[in-house]
């Protein structure tokens, strides 16, 4: 474990890339589009005659004008200045499960690019078969009875759940009374935000001294007003709550529903399921646990599963099978309706289905175990670094991640987690996820070394933090002023919250910063 690891000499590409508008050369074309045939033009005449005159665009949009090689060069420079998961040891983005997305699955998913969702079902039997079989796999992995794949991300799935809780209590004539959802501080912030958007009051429980959500506080919060519970386990701390059944029971006892936020299932795939813990519903992020690439934040899928009792409330359609043919089933009597148009991000389903097939039942368990072994191995390496501490649950084994703290480093050197985060980039490692806000664990950071990462990857990642810790104790300025080897230098963040200076578009920037546009 005390191997000497040579830290690589890294520098990010620096292209000083202009904004694309600055590269514009009047008259250049990046692509040409089909023109109408002569006969069409002759017969229908000018396009403009079909547009009422005050609806015709008077001034062409001021888009950039570039030839194709210049367009591609520009965006390839931007790509190079992006540290994708494949480019680095992305143990950094804990809670996000930055696992490898197999290339072959990209090829497979590309086969449905030119398919329309409203085609006759006989012509999309392949897609429906995959959705149906993916559903069967996820039912088995969760113990739930039916999934919907319509939600386009994790927060969208928790929103879907909030709407289902709403519809369920409404059907029972209790919605006016049951207007509270309970969640916990170490569950994702969307477990507070999405039920609030759905119209609920939200009670967020604080952790007890051991890091578990406070059971007594939960019991005190449960009442005839409780619509349901939305909770993660293990939470972001990596601590598995062994009394989860009691939490579920307390909520069920007052007539509430229980939703298991399993955006990140990675440590317990094939090990423990939502069903056995008594949950009514759960969701899995296919772009996390099930390997679909993260795509700079989507396209994604929050696959959402329920027990039989909640199935009639799901968004429509779901896919059914009659033994010979697959169908789109719109016949869900209490459906909440759509949470978005069409069926969801179908390309994502195909990648996840292919991944599950490549793993099989033993492979899924192997992946879960490898992630837990990696986490405990990395944890040992990190806790040996001066300045790193771990809060809560002394002596308890963590599963797939740990929320560490630089509290000690901050006390000793004045260097905190965000400065370390900036410095990591100088070593070609993605800046780590600190924690969701607010920071309950002081100076937090949350690595997640899922099964993708090798023993050497864990060691290298730890070695980088060890190096930064060493710098903090011996030469803190180098950390404080980081990054030094990034594509850019220290950001002026004040402008981002200043209405006089913020600019979401080149138009706004021109007006505010250069006064060129009126």
């Amino acid at each position: 474990m005390t191997k000497d690891i040579k830290i690589r000499n890294y520098h990010a590409p620096v292209w000083s890339e202009p904004i694309i508008m600055e590269l514009s050369q009047k008259g250049q074309r990046g692509i040409l589009v089909p023109q109408s045939e002569k006969e069409i033009k002759k017969q229908v005449g000018q396009a403009s005659q079909y547009i009422p005159s005050d609806m015709q665009r008077r001034e062409l949009p001021q888009l950039p004008e570039l030839a194709q090689p210049q367009v591609i060069r520009h965006y390839e420079h931007l790509a190079q200045q992006t540290l994708g998961m494949e480019m680095n040891i992305d143990i950094s983005q804990g809670t996000c499960t930055m696992k490898y997305s197999p290339k072959v699955n990209e090829i497979l998913a590309s086969k449905i690019q030119e398919i329309h969702p409203y085609q006759d079902v006989d012509t999309i039997q392949g897609i429906l078969e995959i959705i149906y079989k993916l559903d069967l796999c996820l039912r088995e992995i969760s113990g739930m009875d039916q999934f919907t794949f319509q939600p386009g991300g994790g927060a969208h799935a928790t929103f879907t759940n909030s709407c289902i809780m709403r519809a369920y209590h409404d059907m029972n004539g209790e919605l006016a009374q049951r207007n509270e959802v309970i969640t916990t501080m170490f569950s994702h912030p969307c477990d507070t935000a999405s039920p609030r958007t759905a119209g609920f009051k939200v009670i967020t429980l604080m952790p007890d001294e051991n890091g578990y959500p406070d059971l007594e506080a939960l019991k005190a919060a449960c009442s005839k007003h409780t619509a349901g519970l939305m909770i993660t386990n293990p939470e972001d701390t990596g601590i598995y709550n062994p009394k989860i059944e009691e939490y579920v029971k307390a909520v069920h006892d007052v007539g509430g529903l229980c939703f298991y936020d399993q955006a990140n299932l990675n440590g317990v795939m094939g090990i423990a399921r939502a069903k056995e813990a008594g949950f009514d519903a759960c969701h899995f992020n296919l772009h996390k646990t099930f390997s679909s690439p993260h795509g700079c934040m989507g396209p994604a899928c929050g696959a959402y599963g329920t027990t039989k009792a909640l199935e009639p409330f799901l968004p429509t359609p779901i896919v059914s099978f009659d033994g010979g043919k697959y169908h789109l089933d719109y016949n869900l009597p209490n459906s909440i309706g759509k949470v978005r148009e069409f069926f969801g991000n179908v390309e994502v389903f195909i990648k996840s289905f292919a991944w599950i097939l490549s793993m099989g039942p033993d492979g899924l368990v192997e992946a879960a175990q490898a992630s837990v072994i990696n986490n405990n191995y990395l944890s040992k390496l990190l806790l040996a670094i001066p300045g790193v501490v771990k809060h809560y649950a002394e002596g308890k084994v963590r599963l797939d991640q740990v929320r560490f703290s630089w509290e000690k480093l901050k006390e000793d050197t004045g260097i905190g987690t965000e400065e370390v985060q900036n410095r990591m980039v100088d070593f070609g490692i993605q800046s780590y996820h600190t924690s969701h806000h607010p920071y309950i664990v002081p100076e937090p950071f949350t690595p997640e070394p899922c099964e993708t990462y090798s023993k050497e990857d864990c060691e290298y990642w730890a070695a980088v933090l060890k190096q930064i810790s060493h710098e903090a104790y011996t030469n803190p300025e180098i950390v404080r002023n980081a990054p030094h080897n990034s594509s850019i230098h220290k950001l002026n963040k004040e402008n981002l919250d200043n209405p006089e200076k913020w600019a979401m578009t080149w138009r706004a920037y021109q007006r505010k910063w250069k006064n060129k546009i009126g």
Partner: protein
């Protein structure tokens, strides 16, 4: 614990038994089971999962899935005339190339020092959308057009502090359903009530007298679309926006951004918020997975602080002349929605999360390739081909098009006089390898047996003539 087969998996470096044993030794446990000690026995799943696989060789995996996928028919195999909010436009190869780059494909939520290029690409997406829309504030995508409209309606309701919104009856049913989900429910006080505004039966245009009847002191916003779901250009945009503004309500316009080389951007006829889908801008249909909604407003603080979605702003850095980027008003996002006691922070707006940012990059590339002239030409081509198709179809005995005098790329084909249902006709068209227009007879029963046809730049004159020929044959 069941006995599991041991194999070295190419996606799991530490599946090698020697390495695993070494790591367990270092951790100080004998068996991996000791790491699961916190999970109570009764919550453990004890048998083997009943799922297929593993298919360990990549070749066999690929063959297996390809076999299933080969049961699909694509819009490259058949001629497609379905649109309805998911449209078959040509996707330039450069768009696919850029979003296939592993740097973009596999990045996630990394900070700007690691992912500088990603942030700049996002800024350029927003900037180019801003040019198309003539708006200064544009956010990263939300889930779909319907979700964008819903979030815009919620923004309007907070800004104006009213809770009714007027929506056209001609809206897409799925879009309306999405909006309802976000605006419900009936029995909680936060509900936003949707009131449907009728349309003119002659030309489909929003019925202004019905609009004036329904607008009230409770109205937060009027939402309408251009082109409408049923394909025609809504010609009285300016008047509708004025009615909204005079009432103290906002004007929200849903738009197909690909039309904006030829159609006036809604900001020029009074829109306060513009929404729509980015799918036509270089994103494949993906069986509906190509959706991504956009939201745009003027750059005014009262609007900016109400966005639920992520806004990338440009800024400067410690190096003179260097651009930097970051999230504008991060505190309004749901990531910052709790205080240190677990209480909700009122300044946080709705929710955001992982959505469809890769499509925003595809759209940025698309807009850069097309440029102003490309948008103008594609708009003209689409209108010309659409009206050529309208003429051909109208010539078929018993068939007429409706609301189609100023269609952009979609129009209704009415089959009432043929005695055949759209369902039957579309079934028959499959034999000619044609996907006929979307059957909207159930959605708009008052209009009869109707299909919504979509024509784009990809349809050649021959394709359109083939459609007309097949329709004639089918209707005989």
């Amino acid at each position: 614990m069941f006995k599991k087969d041991s194999f070295v998996h190419p996606y799991i470096p530490n599946s090698v038994p020697r390495i695993k044993a070494e790591m367990l030794r270092e951790i100080g446990v004998k068996d991996v089971e000791e790491l699961y000690i916190e999970i109570p026995e009764k919550l453990r799943f004890k048998r083997k999962l009943n799922i297929p696989g593993p298919i360990l060789s990549e070749y066999e995996l690929k063959s297996k899935i390809m076999k299933i996928l080969s049961k699909n028919v694509t819009c490259e195999d058949y001629l497609n005339f379905i649109g309805a909010g998911c449209w078959q436009h040509y996707v330039p190869a450069v768009c696919d190339e850029i979003i296939s780059r592993a740097e973009f494909l596999t990045a996630y939520g990394g900070e700007v020092y690691a992912d500088t290029g990603k942030y700049q690409a996002f800024f350029e997406f927003q900037s180019q959308m801003g040019e198309l829309l003539r708006m200064e504030a544009v956010s990263l995508p939300v889930y779909s057009w319907g979700a964008a409209a819903a979030f815009a309606i919620r923004m309007a309701s907070r800004i104006v502090r009213k809770n009714e919104v007027l929506v056209p009856r001609t809206i897409a049913p799925e879009r309306l359903s999405t909006i309802r989900t976000f605006c419900g429910p009936d029995n909680l006080p936060s509900q936003i009530i949707l009131k449907m505004v009728d349309y003119n039966k002659i030309d489909g245009q929003l019925d202004l007298s019905d609009l004036k009847k329904k607008i009230s002191s409770k109205t937060a916003a009027i939402y309408f679309e251009n082109p409408s779901y049923l394909g025609f250009i809504e010609t009285k945009g300016k008047e509708i926006s004025e009615i909204a503004n005079q009432n103290g309500s906002l004007s929200i316009v849903g738009v197909d951004p690909l039309s904006l080389g030829v159609l006036e951007p809604p900001s020029n006829y009074g829109a306060d918020i513009i929404v729509g889908t980015i799918q036509p801008l270089g994103v494949h249909m993906n069986c509906g997975g190509g959706t991504g909604g956009f939201i745009a407003t003027r750059d005014e603080e009262k609007y900016v602080v109400e966005y639920p979605s992520l806004l990338v702003s440009i800024t400067n850095t410690s190096q003179a002349g260097e651009y930097g980027f970051g999230y504008c008003t991060w505190d309004r996002t749901s990531y910052m929605g709790r205080d240190e006691n677990g209480k909700i922070k009122e300044g946080s707006k709705d929710f955001t999360g992982t959505i469809s940012n890769l499509w925003a990059i595809a759209a940025a590339v698309y807009m850069s390739l097309m440029g102003p002239q490309g948008f103008k030409e594609i708009g003209e081509t689409i209108i010309e081909k659409t009206h050529y198709a309208i003429n051909l179809i109208s010539d078929i005995p018993g068939v007429k098009t409706i609301f189609s005098s100023n269609s952009f790329k979609e129009f209704i084909v009415n089959f009432d006089a043929t005695g055949k249902s759209v369902k039957e006709i579309n079934q028959s068209l499959l034999k000619y390898k044609i996907f006929g227009g979307k059957d909207i007879s159930q959605d708009f029963p008052e209009l009869g047996e109707n299909a919504l046809y979509c024509i784009t730049e990809i349809h050649s004159q021959k394709d359109l003539e083939k459609l007309a020929y097949a329709l004639k044959e089918v209707l005989q």
